[in-house]
Protein backbone atom coordinates (compact mmCIF):
# COMPACT_ATOMS: atom_id res chain seq x y z
CA UNK A 1 0.00 0.00 0.00
CA UNK A 2 2.62 2.49 1.03
CA UNK A 3 4.74 1.78 -1.98
CA UNK A 4 1.68 2.08 -4.12
CA UNK A 5 0.67 5.50 -2.86
CA UNK A 6 4.27 6.59 -3.08
CA UNK A 7 4.56 5.65 -6.72
CA UNK A 8 1.14 7.19 -7.35
CA UNK A 9 2.11 10.54 -5.88
CA UNK A 10 5.38 10.41 -7.80
CA UNK A 11 3.46 9.75 -10.95
CA UNK A 12 1.06 12.64 -10.37
CA UNK A 13 3.87 15.04 -9.55
CA UNK A 14 5.58 13.81 -12.67
CA UNK A 15 2.53 14.51 -14.88
CA UNK A 16 2.04 17.79 -13.08
CA UNK A 17 5.51 18.96 -13.87
CA UNK A 18 4.96 17.74 -17.39
CA UNK A 19 1.81 19.81 -17.82
CA UNK A 20 3.67 22.72 -16.24
CA UNK A 21 6.43 22.44 -18.78
CA UNK A 22 3.87 21.99 -21.54
CA UNK A 23 2.23 25.21 -20.45
CA UNK A 24 5.57 26.98 -20.31
CA UNK A 25 6.34 25.77 -23.78
CA UNK A 26 3.04 27.10 -25.11
CA UNK A 27 3.67 30.37 -23.32
CA UNK A 28 7.13 30.62 -24.85
CA UNK A 29 5.60 30.30 -28.30
CA UNK A 30 2.69 32.69 -27.91
CA UNK A 31 4.21 35.39 -25.69
CA UNK A 32 6.34 37.16 -28.33
CA UNK A 33 3.21 37.96 -30.28
CA UNK A 34 0.77 38.26 -27.43
CA UNK A 35 2.73 40.89 -25.52
CA UNK A 36 2.82 43.52 -28.30
CA UNK A 37 -0.72 42.53 -29.27
CA UNK A 38 -1.92 43.24 -25.74
CA UNK A 39 0.12 46.41 -25.38
CA UNK A 40 -0.74 48.02 -28.70
CA UNK A 41 -4.03 46.47 -29.78
CA UNK A 42 -6.19 44.97 -27.06
CA UNK A 43 -5.47 47.21 -24.07
CA UNK A 44 -5.61 50.38 -26.22
CA UNK A 45 -8.99 49.25 -27.48
CA UNK A 46 -10.45 49.17 -23.96
CA UNK A 47 -8.64 52.37 -23.10
CA UNK A 48 -10.11 54.12 -26.16
CA UNK A 49 -13.60 53.17 -25.07
CA UNK A 50 -12.88 54.73 -21.68
CA UNK A 51 -11.40 57.91 -23.18
CA UNK A 52 -14.47 58.29 -25.40
CA UNK A 53 -16.51 58.86 -22.22
CA UNK A 54 -14.25 61.69 -21.00
CA UNK A 55 -13.36 65.23 -21.98
CA UNK A 56 -9.62 64.70 -21.74
CA UNK A 57 -7.48 67.22 -23.67
CA UNK A 58 -4.15 65.32 -23.54
CA UNK A 59 -2.23 68.22 -22.02
CA UNK A 60 -3.83 68.58 -18.60
CA UNK A 61 -3.76 65.60 -16.24
CA UNK A 62 -7.32 66.29 -15.11
CA UNK A 63 -10.36 65.23 -16.95
CA UNK A 64 -13.95 64.47 -16.11
CA UNK A 65 -16.20 61.64 -16.97
CA UNK A 66 -18.90 62.90 -19.29
CA UNK A 67 -20.77 59.71 -20.09
CA UNK A 68 -22.37 59.59 -23.49
CA UNK A 69 -21.99 63.33 -24.05
CA UNK A 70 -19.37 62.90 -26.77
CA UNK A 71 -21.64 60.56 -28.65
CA UNK A 72 -24.68 62.77 -28.20
CA UNK A 73 -22.76 65.80 -29.37
CA UNK A 74 -21.57 63.81 -32.36
CA UNK A 75 -25.09 63.35 -33.71
CA UNK A 76 -25.74 67.08 -33.52
CA UNK A 77 -22.33 68.01 -34.88
CA UNK A 78 -22.47 69.01 -38.53
CA UNK A 79 -18.75 68.16 -38.91
CA UNK A 80 -19.46 64.59 -37.91
CA UNK A 81 -22.52 64.07 -40.11
CA UNK A 82 -20.69 65.65 -43.02
CA UNK A 83 -17.68 63.41 -42.43
CA UNK A 84 -19.91 60.36 -42.22
CA UNK A 85 -21.52 61.31 -45.52
CA UNK A 86 -18.12 61.96 -47.13
CA UNK A 87 -16.83 58.59 -45.94
CA UNK A 88 -19.84 56.89 -47.45
CA UNK A 89 -19.50 58.81 -50.71
CA UNK A 90 -15.79 58.10 -50.91
CA UNK A 91 -16.21 54.36 -50.26
CA UNK A 92 -18.87 54.01 -52.94
CA UNK A 93 -16.85 56.11 -55.36
CA UNK A 94 -13.81 53.93 -54.81
CA UNK A 95 -15.38 50.49 -54.53
CA UNK A 96 -17.60 50.46 -57.63
CA UNK A 97 -14.94 51.42 -60.20
CA UNK A 98 -12.21 49.43 -58.44
CA UNK A 99 -14.19 46.20 -58.47
CA UNK A 100 -15.49 46.69 -62.01
CA UNK A 101 -12.11 47.62 -63.47
CA UNK A 102 -10.41 44.89 -61.46
CA UNK A 103 -12.80 42.32 -62.86
CA UNK A 104 -12.42 43.68 -66.39
CA UNK A 105 -8.65 43.43 -66.29
CA UNK A 106 -8.82 39.99 -64.69
CA UNK A 107 -11.11 38.70 -67.46
CA UNK A 108 -8.59 39.90 -70.04
CA UNK A 109 -5.56 38.65 -68.16
CA UNK A 110 -6.48 35.48 -66.29
CA UNK A 111 -5.27 33.23 -69.08
CA UNK A 112 -1.56 33.16 -69.70
CA UNK A 113 -0.54 34.56 -73.04
CA UNK A 114 2.49 36.33 -74.37
CA UNK A 115 2.77 39.54 -72.36
CA UNK A 116 0.05 38.78 -69.81
CA UNK A 117 2.53 38.72 -66.93
CA UNK A 118 3.90 42.09 -67.97
CA UNK A 119 0.43 43.65 -68.14
CA UNK A 120 -0.40 42.25 -64.72
CA UNK A 121 2.78 43.66 -63.24
CA UNK A 122 2.22 47.06 -64.79
CA UNK A 123 -1.38 47.31 -63.58
CA UNK A 124 -0.35 46.13 -60.13
CA UNK A 125 2.71 48.38 -59.74
CA UNK A 126 0.92 51.41 -58.16
CA UNK A 127 -0.03 49.25 -55.17
CA UNK A 128 3.64 48.76 -54.26
CA UNK A 129 4.55 52.43 -54.08
CA UNK A 130 4.17 54.77 -51.07
CA UNK A 131 0.77 56.49 -51.20
CA UNK A 132 2.32 59.73 -49.98
CA UNK A 133 4.80 59.88 -52.85
CA UNK A 134 2.33 58.98 -55.58
CA UNK A 135 -0.24 61.40 -54.18
CA UNK A 136 2.33 64.17 -54.56
CA UNK A 137 2.76 63.20 -58.20
CA UNK A 138 -1.00 63.18 -58.71
CA UNK A 139 -1.33 66.57 -57.02
CA UNK A 140 0.85 67.88 -59.83
CA UNK A 141 -1.28 66.14 -62.48
CA UNK A 142 -4.31 67.94 -61.05
CA UNK A 143 -2.53 71.23 -60.47
CA UNK A 144 -4.79 74.02 -61.73
CA UNK A 145 -2.33 76.15 -63.71
CA UNK A 146 0.10 73.71 -65.27
CA UNK A 147 -1.24 70.27 -64.36
CA UNK A 148 -1.60 67.57 -66.95
CA UNK A 149 -5.36 67.18 -66.48
CA UNK A 150 -6.11 70.82 -67.29
CA UNK A 151 -3.61 70.84 -70.16
CA UNK A 152 -5.41 67.94 -71.79
CA UNK A 153 -8.77 69.61 -71.16
CA UNK A 154 -7.38 72.76 -72.75
CA UNK A 155 -6.48 70.79 -75.90
CA UNK A 156 -10.14 69.90 -76.39
CA UNK A 157 -11.23 73.43 -75.54
CA UNK A 158 -12.50 73.00 -71.98
CA UNK A 159 -11.68 75.67 -69.40
CA UNK A 160 -9.30 74.66 -66.64
CA UNK A 161 -10.94 73.17 -63.57
CA UNK A 162 -9.66 74.11 -60.10
CA UNK A 163 -9.51 70.39 -59.21
CA UNK A 164 -8.21 70.50 -55.66
CA UNK A 165 -9.42 73.99 -54.79
CA UNK A 166 -13.07 73.29 -55.48
CA UNK A 167 -15.35 71.34 -53.19
CA UNK A 168 -17.11 69.78 -56.17
CA UNK A 169 -14.06 68.13 -57.68
CA UNK A 170 -11.60 67.55 -54.82
CA UNK A 171 -13.23 64.28 -53.81
CA UNK A 172 -13.13 63.05 -57.42
CA UNK A 173 -9.37 63.53 -57.48
CA UNK A 174 -8.87 61.53 -54.28
CA UNK A 175 -11.15 58.82 -55.64
CA UNK A 176 -9.15 58.62 -58.89
CA UNK A 177 -5.85 58.27 -57.02
CA UNK A 178 -7.28 55.62 -54.71
CA UNK A 179 -8.83 53.58 -57.52
CA UNK A 180 -5.59 53.81 -59.49
CA UNK A 181 -3.73 52.30 -56.55
CA UNK A 182 -6.25 49.60 -55.64
CA UNK A 183 -7.22 48.25 -59.04
CA UNK A 184 -4.24 45.95 -59.55
CA UNK A 185 -4.63 44.32 -56.16
CA UNK A 186 -8.32 43.69 -56.82
CA UNK A 187 -7.45 42.27 -60.23
CA UNK A 188 -5.07 39.72 -58.71
CA UNK A 189 -7.81 38.29 -56.49
CA UNK A 190 -10.19 38.07 -59.43
CA UNK A 191 -7.54 36.32 -61.52
CA UNK A 192 -7.09 33.63 -58.91
CA UNK A 193 -10.88 33.23 -58.59
CA UNK A 194 -11.32 32.96 -62.36
CA UNK A 195 -8.58 30.36 -62.58
CA UNK A 196 -10.35 28.21 -60.03
CA UNK A 197 -13.47 27.85 -62.19
CA UNK A 198 -13.38 24.32 -63.58
CA UNK A 199 -12.64 24.30 -67.31
CA UNK A 200 -15.21 21.55 -67.83
CA UNK A 201 -18.08 23.97 -67.12
CA UNK A 202 -17.00 26.17 -70.00
CA UNK A 203 -16.59 23.18 -72.25
CA UNK A 204 -20.10 22.03 -71.46
CA UNK A 205 -21.48 25.48 -72.23
CA UNK A 206 -19.53 25.54 -75.46
CA UNK A 207 -21.17 22.30 -76.54
CA UNK A 208 -24.56 23.70 -75.55
CA UNK A 209 -23.82 26.66 -77.81
CA UNK A 210 -24.00 29.41 -75.19
CA UNK A 211 -22.96 32.89 -76.24
CA UNK A 212 -20.00 34.42 -74.40
CA UNK A 213 -22.36 36.81 -72.61
CA UNK A 214 -24.66 34.09 -71.28
CA UNK A 215 -21.60 32.12 -70.30
CA UNK A 216 -20.34 35.11 -68.34
CA UNK A 217 -23.67 35.73 -66.61
CA UNK A 218 -24.61 32.11 -65.98
CA UNK A 219 -21.23 30.59 -65.10
CA UNK A 220 -18.52 33.14 -64.40
CA UNK A 221 -20.43 35.66 -62.31
CA UNK A 222 -22.07 33.18 -59.92
CA UNK A 223 -18.83 31.31 -59.41
CA UNK A 224 -16.80 34.40 -58.62
CA UNK A 225 -19.53 36.01 -56.51
CA UNK A 226 -17.86 35.09 -53.16
CA UNK A 227 -14.64 36.74 -54.31
CA UNK A 228 -16.55 39.74 -55.63
CA UNK A 229 -18.28 40.14 -52.33
CA UNK A 230 -15.04 39.77 -50.42
CA UNK A 231 -13.39 42.41 -52.60
CA UNK A 232 -16.29 44.84 -52.22
CA UNK A 233 -16.09 44.58 -48.43
CA UNK A 234 -12.31 44.72 -48.17
CA UNK A 235 -12.08 47.69 -50.53
CA UNK A 236 -14.76 49.40 -48.47
CA UNK A 237 -12.84 48.79 -45.23
CA UNK A 238 -9.71 50.15 -46.88
CA UNK A 239 -11.53 53.28 -48.05
CA UNK A 240 -12.93 53.91 -44.58
CA UNK A 241 -9.34 53.83 -43.35
CA UNK A 242 -7.77 55.87 -46.14
CA UNK A 243 -5.67 58.74 -44.86
CA UNK A 244 -2.39 59.36 -46.72
CA UNK A 245 -3.89 60.52 -50.00
CA UNK A 246 -6.27 62.87 -48.18
CA UNK A 247 -3.50 64.48 -46.23
CA UNK A 248 -1.39 65.15 -49.33
CA UNK A 249 -4.12 66.12 -51.75
CA UNK A 250 -6.76 67.99 -49.77
CA UNK A 251 -6.18 67.96 -45.97
CA UNK A 252 -9.89 67.39 -45.68
CA UNK A 253 -10.70 70.58 -47.54
CA UNK A 254 -11.81 72.65 -49.31
CA UNK A 255 -14.10 73.61 -46.44
CA UNK A 256 -14.55 70.06 -45.23
CA UNK A 257 -15.66 68.59 -48.54
CA UNK A 258 -13.16 65.74 -48.29
CA UNK A 259 -13.11 65.38 -44.52
CA UNK A 260 -13.81 61.69 -43.88
CA UNK A 261 -14.31 60.14 -40.45
CA UNK A 262 -10.67 59.15 -40.18
CA UNK A 263 -9.55 62.64 -41.13
CA UNK A 264 -11.95 64.12 -38.61
CA UNK A 265 -10.46 61.79 -35.99
CA UNK A 266 -6.98 62.97 -36.92
CA UNK A 267 -7.96 66.62 -36.60
CA UNK A 268 -9.78 66.10 -33.32
CA UNK A 269 -6.99 64.06 -31.74
CA UNK A 270 -3.76 65.46 -33.08
CA UNK A 271 -4.63 69.01 -34.09
CA UNK A 272 -7.20 70.05 -31.47
CA UNK A 273 -6.25 67.53 -28.75
CA UNK A 274 -9.91 66.75 -28.08
CA UNK A 275 -9.17 63.20 -27.10
CA UNK A 276 -12.67 62.34 -25.89
CA UNK A 277 -14.55 63.20 -29.09
CA UNK A 278 -11.67 61.79 -31.14
CA UNK A 279 -11.87 58.44 -29.37
CA UNK A 280 -15.63 58.44 -29.90
CA UNK A 281 -15.11 59.06 -33.63
CA UNK A 282 -12.57 56.26 -33.81
CA UNK A 283 -15.09 53.89 -32.23
CA UNK A 284 -17.63 54.81 -34.90
CA UNK A 285 -14.98 53.90 -37.48
CA UNK A 286 -14.52 50.63 -35.62
CA UNK A 287 -18.27 50.01 -35.63
CA UNK A 288 -18.42 50.50 -39.40
CA UNK A 289 -15.40 48.26 -39.95
CA UNK A 290 -16.78 45.68 -37.54
CA UNK A 291 -20.15 45.50 -39.25
CA UNK A 292 -18.48 45.15 -42.65
CA UNK A 293 -16.17 42.40 -41.36
CA UNK A 294 -19.05 40.50 -39.78
CA UNK A 295 -21.09 40.70 -42.98
CA UNK A 296 -18.05 39.40 -44.81
CA UNK A 297 -17.49 36.40 -42.55
CA UNK A 298 -21.20 35.55 -42.44
CA UNK A 299 -21.51 35.71 -46.20
CA UNK A 300 -18.23 33.83 -46.55
CA UNK A 301 -19.69 30.91 -44.62
CA UNK A 302 -22.73 30.72 -46.84
CA UNK A 303 -21.27 31.46 -50.20
CA UNK A 304 -18.29 29.21 -50.51
CA UNK A 305 -18.84 27.06 -53.54
CA UNK A 306 -15.57 25.22 -53.75
Amino acid sequence: MKINSHTLSRATSHTMSRTMSEKLKVLLFIAPLLIPLLAFWIVPFGWSIYISFTDWDYISPEYSYVGFENYQYMIEDSYFTEALYNTFLFSLGVVIPTVMLGLGFALLLHKNFRGSQLYRAVIFSPWITPTVAVSIVWSWVFETKSGLANLLLGKVGIDPIPWLESGDTAMTVVVIVTVWQAVGWTMLFFISALNKIPESLYEASLIDGCSPLTRFIKITLPLISPTTFFLIIVNMINSVQAFDQFQILTQGGPSGSTRTLLYLFYQQAFEQYDMGPAAATSLIILAITGVLTLINTEMGKRWIYY
Binding site: I30, P36, S48, Y119, A121, I128, A133, V137, T289
Partner: protein
Protein backbone atom coordinates in the same frame (compact mmCIF):
# COMPACT_ATOMS: atom_id res chain seq x y z
CA UNK B 1 -11.11 12.04 -85.88
CA UNK B 2 -12.12 8.49 -85.05
CA UNK B 3 -8.76 7.58 -83.60
CA UNK B 4 -8.85 10.70 -81.48
CA UNK B 5 -12.25 9.90 -80.04
CA UNK B 6 -11.13 6.39 -79.24
CA UNK B 7 -8.14 7.91 -77.56
CA UNK B 8 -10.22 10.19 -75.37
CA UNK B 9 -11.16 7.97 -72.44
CA UNK B 10 -7.67 6.52 -72.25
CA UNK B 11 -5.68 9.72 -72.67
CA UNK B 12 -4.23 11.86 -69.93
CA UNK B 13 -6.39 14.56 -68.46
CA UNK B 14 -4.48 17.43 -69.99
CA UNK B 15 -4.32 15.94 -73.45
CA UNK B 16 -7.98 14.95 -73.58
CA UNK B 17 -9.12 18.42 -72.58
CA UNK B 18 -7.12 19.91 -75.37
CA UNK B 19 -8.67 17.44 -77.77
CA UNK B 20 -12.20 18.28 -76.70
CA UNK B 21 -11.61 21.93 -77.41
CA UNK B 22 -9.95 21.09 -80.67
CA UNK B 23 -12.91 18.95 -81.63
CA UNK B 24 -15.51 21.50 -80.65
CA UNK B 25 -13.69 24.12 -82.68
CA UNK B 26 -13.87 21.88 -85.70
CA UNK B 27 -17.63 21.43 -85.25
CA UNK B 28 -18.14 25.16 -85.75
CA UNK B 29 -18.82 25.89 -89.40
CA UNK B 30 -16.31 28.71 -89.78
CA UNK B 31 -13.79 28.75 -92.59
CA UNK B 32 -10.30 28.59 -91.16
CA UNK B 33 -9.20 31.76 -92.91
CA UNK B 34 -12.12 33.76 -91.56
CA UNK B 35 -11.57 32.46 -88.05
CA UNK B 36 -7.92 33.29 -88.24
CA UNK B 37 -8.65 36.86 -89.26
CA UNK B 38 -11.19 37.18 -86.51
CA UNK B 39 -8.90 35.91 -83.78
CA UNK B 40 -6.11 38.09 -85.13
CA UNK B 41 -8.33 41.17 -84.98
CA UNK B 42 -9.49 40.37 -81.45
CA UNK B 43 -5.88 39.85 -80.45
CA UNK B 44 -5.00 43.30 -81.72
CA UNK B 45 -7.97 44.88 -79.94
CA UNK B 46 -7.04 43.11 -76.73
CA UNK B 47 -3.39 44.10 -76.83
CA UNK B 48 -4.29 47.60 -77.91
CA UNK B 49 -6.65 48.04 -75.00
CA UNK B 50 -4.25 46.48 -72.51
CA UNK B 51 -1.29 48.57 -73.65
CA UNK B 52 -3.39 51.71 -73.43
CA UNK B 53 -4.55 50.87 -69.90
CA UNK B 54 -1.03 49.87 -68.96
CA UNK B 55 0.22 53.21 -70.16
CA UNK B 56 -2.38 55.05 -68.10
CA UNK B 57 -1.34 53.05 -65.05
CA UNK B 58 2.36 53.82 -65.38
CA UNK B 59 1.88 57.33 -66.71
CA UNK B 60 2.18 59.05 -63.33
CA UNK B 61 5.56 57.35 -62.87
CA UNK B 62 6.71 58.38 -66.34
CA UNK B 63 5.45 61.92 -65.74
CA UNK B 64 7.27 61.98 -62.40
CA UNK B 65 10.60 60.81 -63.80
CA UNK B 66 10.31 63.11 -66.79
CA UNK B 67 9.50 66.05 -64.52
CA UNK B 68 12.49 65.36 -62.33
CA UNK B 69 14.80 65.60 -65.35
CA UNK B 70 13.47 68.93 -66.56
CA UNK B 71 14.28 72.39 -65.34
CA UNK B 72 11.47 74.29 -63.69
CA UNK B 73 11.18 76.62 -66.68
CA UNK B 74 10.80 73.70 -69.02
CA UNK B 75 8.14 72.14 -66.80
CA UNK B 76 5.99 75.22 -67.22
CA UNK B 77 6.79 76.07 -70.84
CA UNK B 78 6.66 72.57 -72.39
CA UNK B 79 4.69 70.48 -69.93
CA UNK B 80 3.66 67.85 -72.45
CA UNK B 81 7.17 66.94 -73.58
CA UNK B 82 7.83 63.56 -72.05
CA UNK B 83 11.48 63.61 -73.03
CA UNK B 84 13.19 66.69 -71.63
CA UNK B 85 15.38 68.79 -73.96
CA UNK B 86 18.39 67.91 -71.89
CA UNK B 87 18.50 65.47 -69.00
CA UNK B 88 19.14 67.39 -65.81
CA UNK B 89 20.65 64.81 -63.50
CA UNK B 90 21.72 67.77 -61.43
CA UNK B 91 18.19 68.01 -59.98
CA UNK B 92 18.78 64.77 -58.11
CA UNK B 93 22.02 66.07 -56.64
CA UNK B 94 20.29 69.29 -55.58
CA UNK B 95 17.37 67.38 -54.09
CA UNK B 96 19.67 65.13 -52.09
CA UNK B 97 21.43 68.25 -50.84
CA UNK B 98 18.28 70.11 -49.83
CA UNK B 99 16.93 67.31 -47.63
CA UNK B 100 18.56 64.13 -46.28
CA UNK B 101 16.66 61.71 -48.52
CA UNK B 102 19.40 59.12 -48.31
CA UNK B 103 18.99 59.09 -44.55
CA UNK B 104 15.19 58.89 -44.82
CA UNK B 105 15.43 55.87 -47.09
CA UNK B 106 17.93 54.22 -44.76
CA UNK B 107 15.56 54.88 -41.84
CA UNK B 108 12.61 53.43 -43.72
CA UNK B 109 14.62 50.40 -44.79
CA UNK B 110 15.96 49.63 -41.33
CA UNK B 111 12.64 50.20 -39.52
CA UNK B 112 10.75 48.12 -42.10
CA UNK B 113 13.41 45.41 -42.04
CA UNK B 114 13.51 45.00 -38.26
CA UNK B 115 9.73 45.21 -37.92
CA UNK B 116 9.36 42.54 -40.59
CA UNK B 117 11.97 40.33 -38.93
CA UNK B 118 10.19 40.48 -35.57
CA UNK B 119 6.81 39.96 -37.22
CA UNK B 120 8.12 36.87 -39.03
CA UNK B 121 9.51 35.37 -35.83
CA UNK B 122 6.58 35.99 -33.53
CA UNK B 123 3.94 35.16 -36.14
CA UNK B 124 5.69 31.91 -36.98
CA UNK B 125 5.94 30.92 -33.30
CA UNK B 126 2.34 31.84 -32.63
CA UNK B 127 1.05 30.10 -35.75
CA UNK B 128 3.11 27.03 -34.84
CA UNK B 129 1.59 26.98 -31.33
CA UNK B 130 -1.99 27.17 -32.53
CA UNK B 131 -1.53 24.64 -35.31
CA UNK B 132 0.88 22.07 -33.83
CA UNK B 133 0.79 22.30 -30.04
CA UNK B 134 -2.15 20.89 -28.15
CA UNK B 135 -3.64 23.20 -25.53
CA UNK B 136 -7.15 24.05 -24.51
CA UNK B 137 -7.37 27.72 -25.31
CA UNK B 138 -5.84 27.63 -28.77
CA UNK B 139 -9.08 28.22 -30.69
CA UNK B 140 -10.06 31.05 -28.38
CA UNK B 141 -6.62 32.56 -28.77
CA UNK B 142 -6.84 32.41 -32.53
CA UNK B 143 -10.22 34.12 -32.48
CA UNK B 144 -8.92 36.88 -30.21
CA UNK B 145 -6.09 37.56 -32.61
CA UNK B 146 -8.38 37.50 -35.61
CA UNK B 147 -10.85 39.82 -33.91
CA UNK B 148 -8.05 42.38 -33.79
CA UNK B 149 -8.14 42.28 -37.57
CA UNK B 150 -11.11 44.59 -37.55
CA UNK B 151 -9.54 47.10 -35.16
CA UNK B 152 -8.77 50.21 -37.21
CA UNK B 153 -5.50 51.93 -36.40
CA UNK B 154 -7.41 55.02 -35.29
CA UNK B 155 -8.87 53.18 -32.29
CA UNK B 156 -5.46 52.29 -30.92
CA UNK B 157 -3.50 55.41 -31.85
CA UNK B 158 -4.27 57.61 -28.82
CA UNK B 159 -3.63 54.97 -26.11
CA UNK B 160 -0.64 53.51 -27.97
CA UNK B 161 0.79 57.00 -28.19
CA UNK B 162 0.39 57.45 -24.43
CA UNK B 163 1.91 54.02 -23.76
CA UNK B 164 4.95 54.85 -25.85
CA UNK B 165 5.21 58.24 -24.15
CA UNK B 166 5.20 56.52 -20.75
CA UNK B 167 7.92 54.15 -21.90
CA UNK B 168 9.95 57.11 -23.15
CA UNK B 169 9.86 55.70 -26.67
CA UNK B 170 8.20 58.55 -28.53
CA UNK B 171 10.27 59.87 -31.41
CA UNK B 172 12.37 56.73 -31.63
CA UNK B 173 12.65 53.90 -34.12
CA UNK B 174 12.44 51.39 -31.29
CA UNK B 175 9.00 52.70 -30.37
CA UNK B 176 7.90 52.47 -33.96
CA UNK B 177 9.17 48.92 -34.31
CA UNK B 178 7.72 47.53 -31.10
CA UNK B 179 4.34 49.16 -31.69
CA UNK B 180 4.16 47.40 -35.06
CA UNK B 181 5.57 44.12 -33.79
CA UNK B 182 2.28 42.22 -33.69
CA UNK B 183 0.85 41.42 -37.08
CA UNK B 184 -2.58 39.84 -37.31
CA UNK B 185 -2.07 39.27 -41.01
CA UNK B 186 1.16 37.40 -40.28
CA UNK B 187 -0.62 34.98 -37.94
CA UNK B 188 -3.54 34.51 -40.31
CA UNK B 189 -1.27 33.87 -43.27
CA UNK B 190 1.20 31.54 -41.59
CA UNK B 191 -1.54 29.58 -39.84
CA UNK B 192 -3.02 28.69 -43.21
CA UNK B 193 0.38 27.66 -44.49
CA UNK B 194 1.33 25.62 -41.41
CA UNK B 195 -1.94 23.69 -41.53
CA UNK B 196 -0.77 22.25 -44.85
CA UNK B 197 2.44 20.81 -43.37
CA UNK B 198 2.01 17.07 -43.07
CA UNK B 199 1.49 16.07 -39.40
CA UNK B 200 3.43 12.82 -39.82
CA UNK B 201 6.61 14.82 -40.37
CA UNK B 202 6.19 16.60 -37.06
CA UNK B 203 5.24 13.37 -35.30
CA UNK B 204 8.33 11.65 -36.64
CA UNK B 205 10.54 14.50 -35.45
CA UNK B 206 8.96 14.41 -31.99
CA UNK B 207 9.58 10.67 -31.73
CA UNK B 208 13.18 11.29 -32.68
CA UNK B 209 13.32 13.61 -29.69
CA UNK B 210 13.47 16.98 -31.43
CA UNK B 211 12.37 19.99 -29.41
CA UNK B 212 9.51 22.14 -30.65
CA UNK B 213 11.72 25.08 -31.60
CA UNK B 214 13.93 22.74 -33.58
CA UNK B 215 10.88 21.25 -35.34
CA UNK B 216 9.65 24.71 -36.25
CA UNK B 217 13.06 25.82 -37.45
CA UNK B 218 14.30 22.68 -39.18
CA UNK B 219 11.13 21.05 -40.46
CA UNK B 220 8.18 23.43 -40.72
CA UNK B 221 9.88 26.61 -41.92
CA UNK B 222 11.98 25.05 -44.70
CA UNK B 223 8.77 23.62 -46.19
CA UNK B 224 7.15 27.05 -46.40
CA UNK B 225 9.96 29.02 -47.97
CA UNK B 226 7.76 30.51 -50.69
CA UNK B 227 5.10 31.63 -48.23
CA UNK B 228 7.73 33.09 -45.90
CA UNK B 229 9.19 35.07 -48.77
CA UNK B 230 5.76 36.42 -49.65
CA UNK B 231 5.00 37.37 -46.06
CA UNK B 232 8.38 39.04 -45.77
CA UNK B 233 7.86 41.11 -48.90
CA UNK B 234 4.29 42.14 -48.09
CA UNK B 235 5.13 43.11 -44.50
CA UNK B 236 8.24 44.94 -45.61
CA UNK B 237 6.44 46.90 -48.32
CA UNK B 238 3.57 47.84 -46.00
CA UNK B 239 5.97 49.08 -43.34
CA UNK B 240 8.17 50.94 -45.79
CA UNK B 241 5.12 52.74 -47.15
CA UNK B 242 3.36 53.43 -43.85
CA UNK B 243 2.84 57.05 -43.08
CA UNK B 244 0.13 58.03 -40.59
CA UNK B 245 1.44 56.33 -37.45
CA UNK B 246 5.14 57.13 -38.04
CA UNK B 247 4.27 60.75 -38.79
CA UNK B 248 2.56 60.99 -35.39
CA UNK B 249 5.42 59.35 -33.49
CA UNK B 250 8.53 60.75 -35.12
CA UNK B 251 9.25 64.42 -34.58
CA UNK B 252 12.96 64.88 -35.12
CA UNK B 253 14.00 65.35 -38.70
CA UNK B 254 16.88 62.89 -38.77
CA UNK B 255 14.61 60.05 -37.64
CA UNK B 256 11.99 60.64 -40.33
CA UNK B 257 10.92 57.83 -42.59
CA UNK B 258 10.81 58.51 -46.30
CA UNK B 259 7.03 59.08 -46.48
CA UNK B 260 7.12 61.70 -43.73
CA UNK B 261 10.31 63.20 -45.08
CA UNK B 262 8.96 63.63 -48.56
CA UNK B 263 5.75 65.21 -47.27
CA UNK B 264 7.70 67.74 -45.26
CA UNK B 265 9.79 68.55 -48.29
CA UNK B 266 6.58 68.92 -50.32
CA UNK B 267 4.89 71.34 -47.94
CA UNK B 268 8.08 73.19 -47.01
CA UNK B 269 7.96 76.84 -47.78
CA UNK B 270 9.02 77.79 -51.27
CA UNK B 271 8.56 74.30 -52.64
CA UNK B 272 4.86 73.96 -53.04
CA UNK B 273 3.74 74.92 -56.52
CA UNK B 274 7.11 76.33 -57.43
CA UNK B 275 9.86 73.82 -57.35
CA UNK B 276 8.15 70.92 -59.12
CA UNK B 277 11.27 69.44 -60.64
CA UNK B 278 12.83 68.93 -57.22
CA UNK B 279 9.55 67.65 -55.80
CA UNK B 280 9.36 65.12 -58.62
CA UNK B 281 12.97 64.13 -58.04
CA UNK B 282 12.13 63.57 -54.37
CA UNK B 283 9.11 61.45 -55.33
CA UNK B 284 11.29 59.45 -57.69
CA UNK B 285 13.76 58.85 -54.88
CA UNK B 286 10.92 57.60 -52.65
CA UNK B 287 9.19 55.43 -55.25
CA UNK B 288 12.16 53.89 -57.08
CA UNK B 289 13.48 51.51 -54.40
CA UNK B 290 10.07 49.84 -54.22
CA UNK B 291 9.55 49.67 -57.96
CA UNK B 292 12.98 48.04 -58.27
CA UNK B 293 12.16 45.63 -55.45
CA UNK B 294 8.90 44.82 -57.24
CA UNK B 295 10.61 44.20 -60.58
CA UNK B 296 13.05 41.81 -58.89
CA UNK B 297 10.48 39.94 -56.76
CA UNK B 298 7.50 40.31 -59.08
CA UNK B 299 6.67 36.62 -59.28
CA UNK B 300 6.68 36.04 -55.53
CA UNK B 301 4.59 39.12 -54.81
CA UNK B 302 2.01 38.62 -57.55
CA UNK B 303 1.48 34.89 -57.04
CA UNK B 304 1.66 35.21 -53.26
CA UNK B 305 -1.14 37.74 -53.15
CA UNK B 306 -3.26 35.99 -55.75
CA UNK B 307 -3.01 32.47 -54.37
CA UNK B 308 -3.51 33.17 -50.71
CA UNK B 309 -5.81 34.94 -48.38
CA UNK B 310 -8.96 34.86 -50.47
CA UNK B 311 -10.60 32.01 -48.68
CA UNK B 312 -10.86 30.76 -45.09
Amino acid sequence: MSTQSIDLPLGHDQGSEAKITANSKMIKPATPMNALMKSFASLIVKHGFLSASGLIMVFPFVWMISGSMKTNDEIFSNPLNILPDTFHWQTFVDTFESAPFGLYIMNSFSVAFFTTLIVMINSAMFAYAITQLKFKSRTVLYFIVMACYMLPGAVTYIPSYITLANMGLLDSHTGLIISNAASVFGVFYLRQVFLKVHPSLIEAARIDGAGEIKILWAIVLPQCKAALATLFLITFITNYNSYMWPSLLITSQDLNLIATGIRQFFIAEGNYGLNWSQIMAASTIAVMPLLILFIICQKTILSGIADNGVKE
